[in-house]
């Protein structure tokens, strides 16, 4: 059971990828299947069940794209 959940405000993301360096369980990745309004691949999480809600990704994000919840 996931301990946390992250949501991405995709259209604000600039596709910089800093968040992907910070996730201790390595689930944050760039969604190369689509581009956002700015033309960037937005960050996303596919395996949300592994999220531990540590907020490292949100900590690393320069644009406040990520909201983190914890159960």
């Amino acid at each position: 059971m996931a301990k946390g959940k992250v949501t991405f405000n995709e259209d604000i993301c600039k596709g910089c990828g800093l968040c992907t360096t910070a996730c201790p369980v390595k689930i944050v990745t760039m969604d190369t299947s689509k581009i956002n309004i700015k033309g960037f691949h937005p960050a996303t999480v596919f395996e949300m069940d592994k999220c531990i809600g540590c907020a490292n990704c949100a900590m690393m994000c320069p644009d406040s794209v990520i909201t983190v919840e914890r159960f």
């Binding site: 990828g17 900590m59 994000c61 320069p62 644009d63 406040s64 990520i66 909201t67 914890r70």
Partner: protein, 248 residues
């Protein structure tokens, strides 16, 4: 389900103009979070410089004043002397503070002006396209040091925190970095301590934040974090140089 992390009300809704991966954005957020957590947003006046953060007046959710290049500490002095009970901060880059504005930053420290300076050091001039700054490392290339900076031509990079820590009026001087979540947490703690030093009227407070410039360093945002750790931190050691009450 509880929200443990969301965008701070210390920042406005406006999306920043910073390049993708530029860590100015992180530093802005930390300042916004600290002002929100200290519950002083309505009592705060910020002074934005000329540089990449020239548009910071659109991003911080408090009264803002746009200074001319290098003069933010003087503008902040004028504001603080008129409103001694308000929280006043400057947000400056290394071109702004360590080059044209050195007299101003030395003298707010010298006067023990009760303001807080957030000093973003990315070892280059960002807004104007990558020129060499006083903080540019030896060997680091810049548009005005095409073959890399040499000490013989333009001296050794300037360590501002160490310099200001020799001034008694500088009550709080700390250098931090935003290249990892752990360092970002330390940066937030330092920024909070700096603003608390001002609120407690102990004197001048400054936090030097090592930051990246992917565009002008010519690297990806992720490589920039690594370059910062491998090159800036060794030359600009992290840590506290002065705390209130300490006599150095």
């Amino acid at each position: 389900m509880s929200v443990v992390f969301k965008k701070t009300s210390g920042l406005t809704e406006k999306e920043t103009h910073y390049c993708p991966g530029c860590t100015h954005g992180i530093i802005h957020r930390l300042v916004g979070e600290v002002l929100e957590e200290l519950d002083v947003l309505g009592e705060t006046i910020g002074v934005a410089p000329v540089g990449c953060s020239v548009l910071a007046y659109d991003y911080f959710n408090c009264d803002m004043h746009e200074a001319s290049h290098g003069r933010a500490p003087a503008v902040a002095t004028g504001i603080k002397r008129v409103h001694p009970d308000k929280v006043v901060f400057t947000y400056q880059g290394d071109g702004d503070l360590a080059s044209i504005g050195t007299a101003e930053i030395v003298h707010v420290a010298h006067r023990g002006e009760k303001i807080t300076t957030i000093f973003v050091n990315n070892a280059i001039y960002g807004m104007t396209g990558g020129q060499m700054a006083p903080t540019t490392l030896i060997g680091q290339r810049a548009t005005t040091a095409p073959l890399g900076r040499t000490a013989e031509h333009s001296g050794m990079p300037l360590r501002v925190s160490e310099m200001l820590a020799t001034i008694d009026g500088a009550a709080y001087v700390e250098r931090v970095s935003v290249d990892t979540p752990a360092n970002i947490r330390k940066t937030k703690k330092a920024i909070k301590e700096a603003f608390q030093c001002q609120i407690d009227r102990k004197g001048f407070s400054i936090v030097e934040v090592l930051s990246t410039c992917p565009t002008n360093w010519g690297m990806t945002p992720i490589d920039s974090l690594k370059w910062l750790a491998d090159n800036l931190i060794p030359y600009y050691p992290l840590g506290n140089f002065r705390r209130p009450g300490e006599v150095k």
